[in-house]
């Protein structure tokens, strides 16, 4: 099942939790940008970036292994790069025992580099969502000049996300309850099953459209004038500025370390 609608926020009062969400977003983006700019095989930089991730995990109070444990989500995609050790030309470092495929040195370096960068980037994003509530995150995106219409749509979507997910699950439970079959009877063909699922989606869609009309009516009834307003407001404290400065310097340092080493 593709429904992984679980709120990723972990309540807490750590330093990372109390940081201005704008600072957290900027630091995570800088971190991932730094990883993107680090060339393949920059092992010293990667190690330093991993150190930064561990430090951030320590500041989050969620435990050092928290982000590592949640970083499995990117694993399936790493397959997309799995052919690199065999396709990038270069000196052969080893040959696969059974298949007899030659693994090239530069290809292996590039593949491992991509895997490490992805693994580290996911950890940073995991820590961001684990220490920041979604409304705070949205406020910060708006404050960082993401178009307000987009931010409002995301906020509204978030309110109905879990409702819509539950509706889909109820509908699937109903399908299962009614889909009786005689033992040994042939299953209906795939195209028929696909059509049934499609009709379920169609009726979910109709309910969504009708709900959006009701929601719009309710918003108008409460004085909606096209503007979204929020009570959330953060002010940059001295600590926020310090964290921002230190984070940017450290990320640049991690990137530069490879040149020094």
């Amino acid at each position: 099942m593709h429904l992984h609608l679980v709120d990723r926020y972990r309540a807490g009062t750590s330093i990372a939790h109390r940081l201005d969400p704008r600072v957290k977003i900027l630091l995570v983006l800088t971190y991932i940008l730094g990883l993107t700019l680090a060339p393949p095989g920059a092992w010293v930089s990667y190690a330093a970036f991993f150190g930064l991730a561990l430090a951030a995990a320590a500041f989050s109070g969620l435990g050092l292994t928290f982000a590592v444990r949640r970083s499995y989500v990117a694993i399936p995609f790493i397959l997309a790069a799995a052919a690199l050790p065999f396709t990038v030309p270069g000196p052969t470092v080893l040959t696969l025992p059974v298949l007899g495929w030659a693994v090239s040195g530069p290809g292996l370096v590039r593949f491992v580099s991509i895997a490490v960068r992805t693994w580290l980037a996911v950890q940073a994003a995991v820590l961001l969502t684990a220490t920041t509530t979604f409304p705070d995150l949205l406020w910060a995106l708006g404050a960082l000049k993401v178009p307000s219409a987009l931010v409002s749509v995301v906020g509204l979507m978030y309110r109905y996300l879990f409702l819509a997910g539950d509706e889909a699950l109820r509908m699937m439970r109903a399908r299962q309850a009614r889909a009786a079959a005689l033992p040994g009877a042939r299953r209906p063909p795939v195209w028929w099953r696909g059509q049934v699922a499609g009709r379920m989606i169609g009726s979910l869609f109709l309910r969504a459209i009708e709900r959006s009309e009701r929601v719009y009516g309710a918003m108008l009834a409460r004085g909606y004038d096209g503007q979204s307003r929020s009570l959330i407001h953060f002010q940059m404290s001295a600590r926020d500025w310090a964290a921002l400065g230190a984070g940017l310097l450290l990320a640049a340092g991690c990137l530069g370390l490879q040149g020094v080493a």
Binding site: H2, L3, L5, L29, L35, T36, L37, R70, V73, A74, F77, L79, A80, A81, T87, V88, P89, G90, P106, G107, I114, A115, R117, T118, W119, A121, V122, A125, L137, P147, A149, L150, V153, V154, L156, M157, Y158, L161, A164, A168, M172, V190, G194, Q195, V196, A197, G198, R199, I201, G202, L204, F205, A208, I209, S212, V215, Y216, Y224, D225, S228
Partner: protein, 318 residues
């Protein structure tokens, strides 16, 4: 068709800085155009409608159906959104979905988000919309043509996203185009069939109970601009593939060339006549895949239009 989402959400670390920057640039242009067109289309209604429908896309992706041997298919939803909402509004809905998947669920990267918005938002929405409208226009506006159009739109939108993803990965030196493009295109040709069944099934319900909902998209503002944008994106991808980086990750090949003392020869080849790269022959897997996908799209279109015409004729005579 697998339970796991097909690998289209590119994570961070897979794209080169240049490709990621290009993706963000295009995404910003498309999203700001999308906000403008959708604001004209829906007015104050835009925010609640887009929000609830984005939540719907998440929910629809949870509805699965058993395919075979323990695997199940589920919907991606771009084509359905494009058919019902029009190109720009569905681009916005999909941008919100893809952005939330990246921000909240780490499904796809943040630096890679621009490219993901282009692949799964812009390309999928525009190609799905264009395919649906083309079939309905050529086969006549009635039930069978609409269902055929929905199937074709879903298939084309899935293939377009998959091809764009593999070209971007190859440009970044993350994968070999001659492996990635055929693999992605063939896997997604199957996923596209599932998407087509689901989209057509969803459309039968919409046509039966609320046909007026389908009228939105027919008069959506910016329709022509969406088709131009689609053409532009296709041209960019074509040029990227036709550029010298097509067959192997470039720096790797250049390095080998230097090692072997072929540098001058390769340089001459790189800067040589475009024919070298535009007509690499049938045995070049990336290009033959593109040809196969183009032929496949034509077949899907042809069948959809044919079914639409035939059913209208049989209704007229019978």
């Amino acid at each position: 068709m697998m339970t796991a989402p097909a690998p289209l959400h590119i994570p961070d670390g897979f794209l080169s800085p240049a490709v990621a920057a290009l993706g963000w640039m295009l995404a910003i242009i498309f999203v700001s155009l999308g906000i403008r067109h959708t604001g004209r289309q829906l007015g104050d209604r835009m925010i609640p409608m887009m929000g609830v429908l984005a939540a719907f896309i998440f929910a629809a992706q949870a509805v699965n159906f058993p395919v075979a041997a323990g695997t199940s298919g589920h919907m991606i939803g771009a084509a359905l959104a494009a058919i019902v909402l029009g190109p720009w509004a569905s681009l916005l809905v999909l941008t919100v979905v893809v952005g939330t998947q990246a921000l909240l669920f780490q499904d796809g990267g943040l630096i890679a988000l621009g490219s993901n918005i282009v692949n799964m938002g812009a390309l999928a929405a525009f190609s799905g919309y264009a395919a649906y409208r083309a079939v309905v226009r050529l086969a006549g506006d009635h039930r069978a043509a609409r269902l055929g159009g929905a199937f074709a739109a879903a298939w084309v939108s899935v293939e377009a996203g998959a091809i764009a993803t593999s070209i971007e990965l190859a440009l970044s030196g993350t994968t070999d185009i001659n492996l990635a493009l055929p693999a992605m295109a063939s896997v997604h040709a199957l996923i596209g069939i599932g998407e087509g069944l689901l989209t057509a099934g969803a459309l039968t319900i919409l046509m039966a109970s609320r046909p007026e909902v389908l009228l939105h998209a027919e008069h959506a503002p910016g329709r022509r601009q969406a088709v131009f944008a689609l053409g532009g994106l296709a041209l960019v991808l074509f040029l990227a593939l036709a550029a010298p980086l097509a067959s192997v990750s470039p720096d790797g090949l250049m390095a080998v060339a230097r090692d072997q003392g072929f540098d001058g020869v390769t340089r001459a080849l790189w800067s040589g006549p475009a024919a070298n790269y535009l007509m690499p022959g049938v045995d070049d897997p990336a290009w033959s895949t593109i040809a196969a996908v183009a032929i496949g799209s034509l077949v899907v279109f042809g069948v959809a239009i044919g079914v639409g015409r035939l059913s209208r004729r049989s209704r007229a005579t019978g």
